[in-house]
Amino acid sequence: MSTPAASAPVHSTAALAQKALVIGLAGIVLTALGILVSGPQAVAYSWLVGISYWTAIAIGMLLMVLIHHIFDASWSVVLRRQLEHGLSAFKWLALLFLPLVLATLFYRLDLVWPWMNPAHALAGHETVAGDILYTKKSSFLNLKTFIGMTALFFVVWIWLSARLRKASFTQDADGDVKWTRMNRVTAAMGLPLAALTLTFAAIYWIKSLEYHWFSTMYGVWFFANCFRGALSVSVLIMLWLWRRGDYKGILNNNHLHSVGQLMLALTVFWAYVTFSQYFLIWNANLPEETFWYNLREYGDWWGTGLVILFGHFVVPFLLLLSYRFKVTHRTIRRIALWILAVILIDLCYNILPAIKDAAGHPKPFLSFNLLWVLTSVIGVGGICCWSYFRSFPTAKLIPIRDPRINECLTHHE
């Protein structure tokens, strides 16, 4: 598997790929063992957190590449290549999503999503089948559309990624400008497709866990997290390649500054949509909407909400205002890691309170089950990193024949 350093234009990533694969598989095995300890439902929810987390980051990368092309951007050409490697993870994410669907079909219909089982008993006296809020939504929320749509999401993401990767990688060899044009076409049709698929994915996978709820902001909330996750990972990749020496003479402070500015913008955007969702529900004060937040004020979820408010908005917002923090490697790396951690908490906040105890209260956030969330994130993440490292040597470090590569290398404020 290893390539001799002399013949490879970039440092080999074979060892890293192997390491990531081992870590990923270990995470998956540990998560599977968790079923024996905490039961299938807790583990299935943890797996949903893990898979949504990394899918969100991959979707964010897809969005960044599409937006790069639609604006004919120049500063992000160098970074785009690394995002294209990241896009290789979609097929593995699709594969890793499969256990949830299979467990639902062959083990228990309401293992994760209660509405999948018409006989699922609701608190009180009725079942899902007799619930007017379900029957009204049943043409949208049913097992067939769920499976069909989920398959469609992954097909769209894999197809868009394949087009973007092929055009970009082929251009390295022949330098033909037609590949840039093809990417622009992919971007023009891909952006609405990506927007719709990520919105519906958020609704089907996460929001429908509590299908009584209403919110028109949900897809936008998910979008903001996707984008913020991808930006943070971009920073980590850029700094990693700088540290390794690959990016010496390629990366300058202005690239980091530009990514940092987007991080700041998306931090504000995330806060804007998340606050809007909360504020509209708080102000209207209708029971069919407020219950979702009431559940999340129970037990330690109340504190978790505050951690998200301050950790996901206030702290990164204040830090990212500074120019120096955005271009100081150590600081921006810490901010990126911090945001990645809080995105995970945000996903937990949206997913995990759907598991209730016998009294109908959400099970606490800080519990033994959190371990399976971590193993799931490590498991899926290991596979995603493996996919990235595996793709890394298949193309040049930077798109050397992109028409905008010179502008990117001399990127200036």
């Binding site: 606050f275 504020f279 708080w282 102000n283 004060n285 205002l321 120019y323 001399t410 200036h412």
Partner: protein, 177 residues
């Protein structure tokens, strides 16, 4: 002609020449001087030793003022000056004060940024002594200039002239105020 000139101007032919000349003027410790170029030159700000603008700090001050104004406005009107219960909500909550504070944050930040920018860059400027120099029009076309102002504490007609000559400046001329 007055006794004290505005400064000395020197001509350069290429961006590279003026760039390296700027580095030497910077290293000589001058503070009140400028480069005139028909096009942006990458990295010139660094070569001139320019610091980052202080406008972002003025913006931040404006933003904080706006946020506090919004919160105070809502608290003052709804909970203090004329307490009134609306929609069963508390008299004051940061929840409904937030949209107003947010808008005022943006508004005041925008004002502070625009005003701060004009104060810091000194525009609009209707007269500049350099404009009297008959060859300055080439600075909008194909030539580059360095101007060192007489108000710089290091300025000295003889020594500064020698420096400009040493760093490759041509046609070193005194500018009228």
């Amino acid at each position: 002609m007055s006794a004290q000139p505005y400064g000395l101007i020197a001509t350069f032919e290429t961006p590279a020449e003026v760039y390296h000349a700027a580095e030497q003027v910077r290293d000589a410790g001058y503070k009140h001087w400028d480069v005139i170029s028909p096009c942006p030159i990458h990295g010139l700000d660094k070569a001139m030793g320019l610091k980052r603008s202080i406008v972002p700090r003025i913006s931040l001050a404006g933003g904080i003022t706006g946020f506090i104004t919004g919160m105070t406005l809502i608290w003052w009107t709804d909970a203090f000056d004329y307490p009134l219960i609306v929609g069963g909500k508390p008299l004051f909550s940061p929840m409904f004060a937030f949209p107003v504070s947010y808008e005022l944050t943006i508004l005041f930040t925008a004002f502070a940024t625009i005003i701060g920018m004009f104060v810091v860059n000194g525009l609009p400027m209707h007269y500049h002594p350099v404009l009297k120099y008959d060859k300055i029009r080439r600075g909008m076309d194909d030539q580059f200039f360095i101007v060192i102002e007489a108000r710089d504490p290091r300025f000295n007609a003889a020594n500064t002239g020698v420096l400009l000559q040493k760093i490759g400046g041509k046609e070193i001329t005194e500018l009228e105020p």
